[in-house]
C-alpha cells in the first residue's frame, strides 16, 4: 500500500518510521542466521569476526571446519543416523497421517474434535515430558538405544504435522469426485490412486517435509531414548556446544541453513501448485 496523496507530514513521517521499525524486526529475524555463514569460514577457532576477516584478507578465511565436518567420524555418523531416522519416521508418519486425515475430513466422522485433539497432542505436550515418558516405556520394551525406538518416537512426534497439513488440503477437496469416479466404474483402490492421490499430493508432500524436518531437528527425545549409536546432527551439535565448542558447529549450521532454504522453496512451490490446482489463485 503506497502513501495516500492526502497524507499530511505527520502521516508521512509515520509511514517511513513504521517501515523502518519493521525493517529492524526483519533484521532481528534473519541476521542471526546469516551471520553464522561467514563465521563458519573463520581461520581461527573463534566464534567471532577476526580483523583479517573484516579486511577481507584471504588468510582470515579457511575451509578447515568444513574439512573437519566431512572427515570426522563423529559427524559423519550423525549425518547418516539423522537421514536414516528422519527417512523412516517420515514414511511411517506420512502414511498413517494421510490415511487418518482422509477419515477425519469425512463428514460422517464421529467425535471429530476429540479425535483430532488426541492426534495433535504430540505437538502440544512439552518435549521433555514426551521424552521422559518414552524413556521409561521404551526402556521397558527394549527399544531404548535402538534405531527402531527413535524412529517410532519421531514418527509419533511428527504425525500431527502431516494430519494438519493434509486435512487443510482436503478442506477444498470435492467429495463428489469420489462418487463420480465410482459411477464411472472405478473400484475404491483405483479411485484412491487415480483421483484422490493426485489431488492431495501437494499437501501430502508438504506434510512429509514437515515431518522430515521435525525428526531431523529433534534432539530432546533422541537424547533420552537414544545412545551415542543413535546420535543425530542436532544431538552432536547439542553436546558439541556443551562440551568443546568448535566452529565446526557453525559449518554444520551453515549446511543446515542451506538445507532449510531448499525445503522452504519446495514447500512454497507446492503450496502455490496446490492453490492453482484448486483454482484459489490465478498465479
Amino acid at each position: 500500500m503506497s502513501l495516500p496523496a492526502y497524507a499530511g507530514p505527520l502521516e508521512t513521517t509515520w509511514y517511513y518510521l513504521f517501515r523502518f521499525i519493521c525493517g529492524l524486526i526483519f533484521f532481528f529475524l534473519i541476521a542471526p542466521i546469516l551471520v553464522i555463514i561467514p563465521l563458519s569460514f573463520n581461520a581461527v577457532p573463534f566464534f567471532t569476526f577476526t580483523e583479517k576477516m573484516l579486511t577481507f584478507d584471504p588468510e582470515g578465511y579457511s575451509l578447515k571446519w568444513y574439512r573437519d565436518f566431512f572427515s570426522n567420524l563423529n559427524w559423519q555418523g550423525a549425518v547418516k543416523n539423522s537421514f536414516i531416522i528422519a527417512f523412516f519416521s517420515t514414511i511411517i508418519s506420512t502414511t498413517l497421517g494421510t490415511i487418518a486425515a482422509l477419515g477425519l475430513s469425512r463428514a460422517e466422522m464421529p467425535a471429530k474434535t476429540w479425535v483430532m485433539g488426541i492426534l495433535i497432542s504430540p505437538m502440544i505436550v512439552p518435549l521433555i515430558i514426551s521424552a521422559a515418558g518414552m524413556f521409561f516405556f521404551y526402556t521397558d520394551m527394549g527399544l531404548a538405544s535402538t534405531h527402531l525406538g527413535v524412529i517410532l518416537a519421531h514418527a509419533a512426534l511428527s504425525t500431527p504435522f502431516v494430519v494438519i497439513t493434509v486435512t487443510a488440503t482436503l478442506v477444498g477437496f470435492d467429495q463428489s469426485l469420489i462418487r463420480a469416479s465410482a459411477t464411472l466404474g472405478a473400484n475404491p483402490t483405483t479411485t484412491f490412486f487415480k483421483v484422490i492421490v493426485p489431488l492431495i499430493l501437494p499437501g501430502v508432500i508438504s506434510g512429509a517435509l514437515f515431518a522430515f524436518v521435525t525428526s531431523f531437528d529433534e534432539v530432546v527425545v533422541v537424547k533420552f531414548i537414544g545412545s551415542y549409536e543413535q546420535r543425530t546432527i542436532p544431538w552432536a551439535m547439542f553436546s558439541g556446544i556443551r562440551e568443546q565448542i568448535s566452529p565446526t558447529i557453525l559449518a554444520v549450521a551453515t549446511l543446515l541453513v542451506l538445507l532449510s532454504v531448499g525445503m522452504l522453496a519446495t514447500v512454497e512451490l507446492l503450496r502455490r501448485r496446490n492453490e492453482k490446482l484448486r483454482g484459489l489463485s490465478p498465479g
Binding site: 494438519i164 547439542f238 541453513v257 522452504l264
Partner: protein
C-alpha cells in the same frame, strides 16, 4: 393408487424401508471413517499416550516400600507414632526378616538399598541407614532391637519410624508436595517449606513470568511485521515472508548456536561494540548464560509462531474498514485502536497462547544459553531424570507442567479450534 404410496413407507429396490437402509448406509460410512483413523490412533496411543501415562503414574507410585518390607508393614501400622517411643521388638523382628529376604533376593527385585533411596527423599539419612544395616543384617541375632540400634543408631530415633510408617502406603502424595516445596513436618502434617528453601515454586514462577514476557515481546515485534505483510502487494509480501519462514524452517540448534556466537563475551555483538568504541574492553556485556540470553534467543525462535497466526487474521480484514472509519472522521490512531485492533484479537489470542504453551515447556534453548539463572522448569525435570534420578519428583513436576499446558490447550481450542490449526 395415490393413497397407497402416501401411506406405506418408502422402500428401496430390495424391499427394505428407506429409513432403515439410510441408517445402515450412514453407519457404514461412519465405520469407514473410523477405520481410516484407527491405525494412527492406535499408533499414537501405543507410542505416545501409554508411555506418558505410565510415566505420570510414577509420581504417586510408592509400592517399593511395602513390597520390600512385607513383614514389617502390617505390624508397623499398629504402632502409635505419637507415643514418642520407637516400636517394640516384634516390629524389629519382622524388619530383620525383611532385610534377610531382600539380601537373598537374586533378581534384586526386593532391595533394601532401593527402599533406603526412596525414603531418603522424605528424610535425609535413610539411604546410608539402610545400606549400613543391610550389610550387617545377615549376622543379626535376637534381641533384634539392640542389634539394629548397634548397627545404626538412627533406628533408635522415632522420627525415622514415623516416616517409614507413613510411606508404607501404596500411593504417595509426597512427590507432589516436594514439587510445590512442601512436605511433612515433624508431627506428620503437610506444610510448606520455609520461604528460604523454596526452589520449585520459584522456578515455576520464573517459568511463568519469563514465558509471559517472551509472549509479550513476541507480540510487540510480530504485530507491526504481520500488519505490514498483510497490507503490502502480494508480490512484495511473499518476498518478505521468506524472512519469516526461513527462521521457522531452520533448525533450532542452528538458531541457538547463532545466538551463542552473537551474544557471548567474545562474541560478535560485544566485539562490535568494543571495536566501535561504544564499550570498554573491560566491561563487555553479559548477555548469555543468564535470563537475558534465554529471553533474547527464545523470542527469536518463537517469533514466527506469533507472526503467522496474526498475519492470517489480518489478511482477512478488508482495508475498507479503516477507510470507512477515516471518512467518518476518526483520526488514524482512533481508527486503528477502535476498528482495526479489535478485529485482530482472534489472531492475538491464537499467537499468544501458542507462544506461551511452547515457551513454558522449552528445554533446549534455556539449557544452552540460560546458564544458572535462565533455566526453566523443563531443565529441572531433565536434571531429576538424568542426574539426581529422583524419577518420582520428575514425574510430579512433569504432571504439573502438563496440566498447565493442557489447560492452555483447551483455551486455544476455544479461541481457534484445534481443527483450524494451520502451519506455515
Amino acid at each position: 393408487m395415490a393413497n397407497t404410496t402416501t401411506n406405506s413407507p418408502l422402500v428401496t429396490v430390495d424391499g427394505t424401508p428407506l429409513k432403515v437402509s439410510l441408517g445402515r448406509a450412514k453407519r457404514k460410512a461412519k465405520l469407514r471413517a473410523l477405520l481410516l483413523v484407527a491405525p494412527l490412533f492406535a499408533f499414537i496411543l501405543l507410542t505416545f499416550f501409554v508411555p506418558i501415562i505410565s510415566m505420570l503414574l510414577r509420581s504417586v507410585d510408592n509400592e517399593v516400600v511395602s513390597y520390600t518390607l512385607p513383614n514389617t508393614a502390617p505390624l508397623l501400622s499398629q504402632w502409635d507414632a505419637s507415643s514418642g517411643e520407637i516400636p517394640g521388638e516384634a516390629v524389629f523382628k519382622a524388619l530383620a526378616a525383611d532385610f534377610k529376604e531382600s539380601a537373598e533376593d537374586k533378581y534384586d527385585d526386593k532391595s533394601a538399598g532401593k527402599v533406603g533411596r526412596r525414603l531418603n527423599y522424605e528424610l535425609t539419612g535413610f539411604s546410608s541407614m539402610f545400606r549400613k544395616t543391610a550389610r550387617k543384617s545377615k549376622k543379626f541375632e535376637p534381641p533384634y532391637k539392640e542389634a539394629f540400634i548397634k548397627a545404626e543408631k538412627k533406628w533408635g530415633d522415632p522420627k525415622y519410624w514415623q516416616v517409614m510408617q507413613r510411606e508404607m502406603r501404596k500411593a504417595t502424595d509426597s512427590y507432589y508436595l516436594a514439587a510445590i516445596d512442601a512436605g511433612y513436618d515433624s508431627e506428620g502434617n503437610r506444610a510448606f517449606n520455609e520461604p528460604g528453601k523454596r526452589v520449585y515454586l520459584k522456578l515455576f514462577w520464573r517459568t511463568f513470568w519469563m514465558s509471559g514476557l517472551i509472549t509479550g515481546l513476541c507480540l510487540l515485534l510480530a504485530y507491526p511485521v504481520a500488519y505490514l505483510l498483510s497490507i503490502l502487494k502480494s508480490r512484495t509480501s511473499n518476498m518478505l515472508m521468506i524472512l519469516v519462514l526461513l527462521p521457522f524452517w531452520t533448525s533450532l540448534l542452528v538458531r541457538t548456536s547463532a545466538w551463542i556466537a552473537l551474544l557471548q563475551k567474545e562474541g560478535v555483538i560485544n566485539s562490535l561494540l568494543v571495536a566501535t568504541g561504544m564499550l570498554d574492553d573491560a566491561n563487555r556485556l553479559l548477555m548469555i548464560h543468564n535470563k537475558a540470553g534465554t529471553i533474547i534467543a527464545m523470542v527469536h525462535v518463537l517469533l514466527p509462531f506469533m507472526i503467522l497466526p496474526l498475519y492470517s487474521v489480518m489478511k482477512t480484514i478488508p482495508p475498507s474498514y479503516m477507510r470507512a472509519a477515516r471518512s467518518l472522521g476518526a483520526t488514524p490512531f482512533t481508527a486503528f485502536t477502535k476498528v482495526y485492533m479489535p478485529n485482530t484479537i482472534p489472531g492475538i489470542g491464537a499467537g499468544a497462547i501458542l507462544v506461551f504453551i511452547l515457551s513454558i515447556g522449552y528445554y533446549i534453548t534455556p539449557a544452552l544459553v540460560g546458564g544458572q539463572s535462565g533455566t526453566l522448569i523443563s531443565n529441572l525435570i531433565a536434571y531429576h531424570l538424568e542426574s539426581s534420578l529422583n524419577w518420582g519428583l520428575a514425574a510430579a513436576l512433569g504432571a504439573i507442567l502438563l496440566a498447565a499446558t493442557f489447560a492452555l490447550y483447551l483455551v486455544y481450542d476455544k479461541i481457534v479450534g484445534i481443527d483450524n490449526m494451520k502451519l506455515g
